[in-house]
Amino acid sequence: MILGYRFQKVKLRISKAGQRVYFNTETDKDFTMLKGIALSVGYEGALYGSTFGFRVDEKEIFDESHEAHLLVYSNDISPNSKMLLFEMPVPVKSSKVEGIYTDSSLQSLLGNASYNPSGGVISRNEVNIKKTYVSGKEVVKFSNFTVDDNLVAYAGSGSGFGGGFGIGAAPAPDPAAQVYYPYDVRVILFLSK
């Protein structure tokens, strides 16, 4: 017997600072509504500044700069209190879903000195460093994912905030907020009939 709902999972492993992990899969064919989404991490300290973009059938639900910690439950938080439940469930039918998790992506923007002297809105082109969504026809199997090694932050000397914009010019992380790698992120899709 098939239950009326299912939590479909995709597991991602973040191996180093600034890593971007892309996945795509398709929703279970027996379920027709995507009612919610959550991320689960074993290591909460990694979340702040990390982002998660998400699309269904090539239509964006979350921009790539959506902060991951807004979607997360961990040992301290029950799933139903942090899972984002969609007010309008997203219709699915073996739909293609894509996601992109970027570790520490917002920290890389802190060193940008090219804005107005007081600051201002960060342009979309800079926030979404590289649009990673792929519109290819192939659907990668569940839990398969690819890693973009060219986009690794903190490759520079960690010289603080003096550098210009660039992934390699990200500021050195605060020792108090030290992140340990690798860590795993599970993407949980709440499907119903």
Binding site: E44, Y48, G49, K59, E60, I61, F62, D63, S65, H66, E67, L70, S74, D76, I77, K82, F86, E87, M88, V90, L106, Q107, L109, L110, G111, N112, A113, Y115, N116, P117, S118, G119, G120, V121, I122, V127, F161, D174, A176, A177
Partner: protein, 142 residues
Amino acid sequence: MTKGRITYYPVQFIILNPKAPVTINTVLPNHISRILGIKAIHSVGIEQMSSESYLPVIGHLSLEFNNKQYHFGNLDIPFDNRPEASDEYLDARIDVQPNSLLTGNYENKVFTDSAYVGADGVVTDKWKNYIVTIYLKTLSND
């Protein structure tokens, strides 16, 4: 039945000087037809200046929609890195005009003393830039 789908649109802005107000001025995408909820949060940066995990107010944000025709109000922005931090959206029912501006101002309220910014307005090494994000829960018709 309402047509369209809900998307979440973030607008990030950076604060580079503790005493200088930040002007927000950006065009919302054409596919956004309605704002259903608004949330403004600190994203990154403050944790490099404070060992606290919660500061109730780090700044004041004023927001206007539809080319300054609709003033949403003034919001206090907290710094909240606690796991139990609220992730609720403020209710809003704003019909968005095509290609209209989202405007506003942000005024920083923390780390404004002379240790962080000199009399000449130049920030010291103790000051760290930080980012605030406005999340718009929107009805999209794309």
